[in-house]
């Protein structure tokens, strides 16, 4: 598949920008971020709370087969403009990483294509680099195989 995802992480900065163009209308791209049932499918995590509004909060958790929680993250939504933008914080529970700030901008390119920009700001340069090295990012996708199963079921 063509690589459409770009990461811009300048040396010595505590931020990075991820951009991606989708073969989806912007409203469909936005839905993937707001409907808990869909978020659960592509992020492979359980959505405990997702309040899509200013002052709203979100809370995701992933459990292993025995029901033990192996990943938990939460944050607050600061801006919510349908089909345009979401500004939110992200913090992992029980992990030595402080909260990060995320600016998500959704733009239509054509009627059938759209673009997402994620601007993520970390507490420090060292923390940004560490998060990238670990492959850490908002909405961890650890249940990779499970997600593939879901996708193939939808086919």
């Amino acid at each position: 598949m063509e690589r459409k995802t770009k990461v811009n992480a300048e040396d010595g900065k505590q931020e990075l920008v991820i951009t991606r163009e989708f073969d989806l209308p912007v409203d469909l791209l936005f839905r993937a971020y707001v409907e808990p049932e869909i978020v659960e499918q592509w992020m492979g995590t359980k959505v405990l709370k997702l309040e899509n509004k200013k002052h709203g909060g979100w809370h995701f958790e992933t459990s292993d087969a025995s029901g033990k929680v192996v990943f938990e993250a939460s944050g607050t939504i600061h801006e919510f403009v349908p089909d345009q933008k979401i500004t939110r914080t992200f913090e992992m529970e029980n992990a030595p990483f402080p909260a990060q700030l995320e600016f998500l901008v959704f733009e239509p390119l054509t009627d059938d294509t759209s673009k997402l920009s994620m601007h993520i700001v970390y507490k420090s340069v060292a923390l940004r680099d560490q998060m990238m090295q670990m492959g850490f990012a908002p909405g961890l996708n650890m249940a990779h195989n499970r997600l593939q199963t879901i996708v193939s079921k939808l086919k």
């Binding site: 995802t5 770009k6 990461v7 073969d23 989806l24 025995s66 992990a95 680099d129 996708n141």
Partner: protein
């Protein structure tokens, strides 16, 4: 498998990245790690072996059990970490796109 073991090879694989993410949150036994994947247990063991050979994971004995820990020093040694990070997001967004296309076609 008789491939050269290096960190780039180790983190190029989505399942191994998932294992690293899992173990980064807390040290875990092989059984606990395997329970997070639909993959057969021997396959997960192979991934753990590769990650350990690359020194991305360390084994520590705790009573009768062996726990896998993340080796943060080795992770820092990964010089060009942007590409694996980009690939991870690319994979994730590819899935989002595939899923949303199904939603679209259902309409």
């Amino acid at each position: 498998m008789n491939l050269r073991r290096d960190v780039f090879q180790a983190i190029a694989d989505p399942t191994r990245r998932a294992i690293l993410l899992l173990v980064a949150s807390q040290a875990m036994t092989a059984g606990a790690i395997a329970s997070n994947f639909d993959t057969a247990r021997p396959t997960v063991s192979k991934h753990l072996q590769i990650l350990t050979e690359c020194e991305l994971l360390e084994q520590k004995q705790n009573g009768r059990e062996i726990y896998y820990h993340i080796n943060a020093k080795k992770m820092k040694a990964v010089a060009d970490f942007i590409e694996p990070f980009r690939q991870m997001w690319d994979d994730r967004f590819n899935k989002l796109e595939a899923i949303m296309k199904k939603y679209k076609s259902k309409k």
